[in-house]
Amino acid sequence: MCDFSGKLIAWLDHELPAEEAADVERHLVICAECRSGVEAYKRVSGEFDAYCDAAMASNARRGALRWAAVASAAGAVAALVALFMAIPRTRVEPPESHAQQTTVATSPAIVAAEVPDSVRPTIRRVHRRQAMAPVQIQDANAPPAQNQNAYLPPDGPMIRIAIPADEMFPPGAVPEGMHFVADLTIAADGSAERLRLRPRLAGFERRTTLP
């Protein structure tokens, strides 16, 4: 076994100091054994890489198959929901105005200050006792926020606002499909006590079931 054999892989990886690398290169010219060793290590490295790609690809395919099943199940659920929604019910809807909602989302920082009274009813305070899903104000283009997961409202009223990331950052500054969900707690005197921003990636949400 050649003295240089312990340096060949580090040399391949450009991890040797310049002087040692030069030594290895001079040695390779005269040593056939080390030359074939370098070739073998290069090949194995390439194959290891290909193996990882294959593992990744086969895993993604399995994932895709499972997602197809989930998607068809989701379709069935959507159909059921649509059926349910079609049954007429008497219910007072809060005033819907997309333009106004967008205004709210565009300047999340001044929600409290500048929202005209006519928009207010869309921001409903939810009391814990009411045990209903938190209200979301959301741009229609923004992906639906995940609101069914483990977040429990703190003591006291809670307002949840979903803010498209585009409204907070310069265009392109945030990965595509990313938006934020802000949980804020309002104190009894109407001041904001606590703000918690949680970034979300569309199509990339955490699963609600933990392993």
């Binding site: 290891f48 086969s58 200050a113 907070m168 990965p175 392993p211």
Partner: protein
């Protein structure tokens, strides 16, 4: 009320710091991170969860003015630790049987060549599973393009140890695969 508005505005402004670096890194490193995690033994769902978490942590790190040095190694370290936390599933891929070999054959290959390739991958898969966990991790991180120093930071070991481990692991694979 205007006082409240000012208080709410602050965290939003702070978050925008470093957001563009995070985006570039996300585009560049998402795939390599996913591949690393899947090869460590995470399912593709778990790997996506971990990568998402890692980027959220990075986002917070950059937003709070954290160091911007060697973010690549930093991200791999965060992802690696998150994967470790899922230890019950960890190591499944390489320790249990894998069907990566079945899918590895390129479609253009002739039948004879396909059989050869498949055999080669099965042999390699077997050899990889015989490596120690640390040898596998070193090789995986090396295949992700990390320098020895970065690998050492991810795994919490000295650079010289990484050097020795990579050297040993590659030689084991070369020997078992008769190349």
């Amino acid at each position: 009320m205007s006082g409240d508005a000012a208080r709410l505005a602050l965290p939003l402004a702070r978050l925008s710091t470093g957001a563009s670096e995070a985006t570039t890194l996300y585009r560049e490193l998402r795939k390599p991170l996913l591949r690393y995690l899947v090869c460590l033994g995470l399912s593709s769902d778990e790997a996506q969860d971990v990568v998402q978490d890692a980027f959220l942590i990075l986002h917070r790190h950059l937003a709070s003015g954290g160091s911007q040095e060697n973010i690549r190694g930093w991200l791999f370290r965060v992802a690696h630790n998150q994967a470790r936390n899922r230890q019950n599933r960890y190591d499944r891929h390489f320790s249990a049987g894998s069907d990566a070999e079945m899918d590895a054959v390129s479609h253009e290959a002739t039948p004879e060549r396909a059989v050869l390739e498949k055999e080669k991958f099965q042999q390699l898969g077997k050899a990889i599973r015989l490596l120690t966990a640390s040898e596998r991790e070193c090789l995986l991180l090396r295949a992700s393009g990390l320098r020895y120093r970065e690998i050492g930071e991810v795994l919490g070991i000295a650079t010289s140890t990484v050097n020795d481990t990579v050297d040993r692991a590659i030689k084991k694979l070369a020997e078992k695969c008769n190349v």
